[in-house]
Subunit: 124 residues, 2 copies
DNA sequence: CTGTATCCAACGGGATACTG
DNA sequence: CAGTATCCCGTTGGATACAG
């Protein structure tokens, strides 16, 4: 059965609702950072070590944006050397289930999609 | 309770799984086009009319990518003037539930996020 | 350890004009 | 009607160097 009557949640307001979230989480690193923080409080260097390929710059930028949007909390401990711990806020945690839904879909369908891609390239 | 034991679906393979889907659906128009096609078979011009702000170029590109990935079917009717109808494939339809999960999250949390943004800007 | 600053290449995407 | 072709600009993000 069609779910058309529900897709207004996506299309609503000329797409402004879905765009609001896309603008925030649809970049190269945000979802990976959020997923990594789901284990609890993690410090900067540990995050960088657990997320292969991310640069200091992009980790900083991603964390700042998440903090600014209230999805991640940042705690500075007055020590030497400095220790900064990042953790998901309740809002941040609430993003995990929909993110998992997406990841589940990807896990299930990406193989078929890749096959379709190759077939498409083959015939032109 | 933490869902950490599940987030491997997001982080798995160094993030390649989640990246695979992000690369395909996280652009300005894809989710809107998919949601619009959930009503059934729609022709090019109708799509453009129902998706405010999309240009011919971007609608074409988005549809081509979706077709190439096997999420959308394209049917050309041999008439004059030409009539082309686009529709979701089963794989395309399967994307609707996770997309709705995301949209639901957005609807629920975006107000709080925007407030957090403004507070962040205010204090610097 | 936890960042900032700068430079730069690649890409997405808008505007516009043209076509079978 | 349903596209294609070109131009062009803003943003994203990588590399690198520097700093508190």
């Amino acid at each position: 059965m069609s779910e058309y009557r529900h897709t207004c949640m996506i299309r609503g307001d000329g797409g402004r609702v879905i765009r609001a979230i896309l603008d925030r989480i649809c970049n190269k690193w945000t979802l990976l950072v959020v997923a990594t923080l789901d284990q609890g409080s993690v410090r900067f260097t540990d995050l960088q070590r657990q997320i292969p390929g991310i640069s200091q710059r992009m980790l900083t930028l991603t964390l700042r944006n998440l903090e600014r949007d209230g999805l991640v909390s940042r705690t500075v401990h007055a020590e030497v050397p400095p220790r900064v711990e990042y953790a998901l806020t309740p809002t941040g945690k609430s993003l995990i289930p929909p993110a998992l839904a997406l990841a589940g879909w990807a896990t299930e369908h990406v193989p078929h999609i890749e096959a379709s891609r190759e077939a498409y390239e083959a015939k032109g």
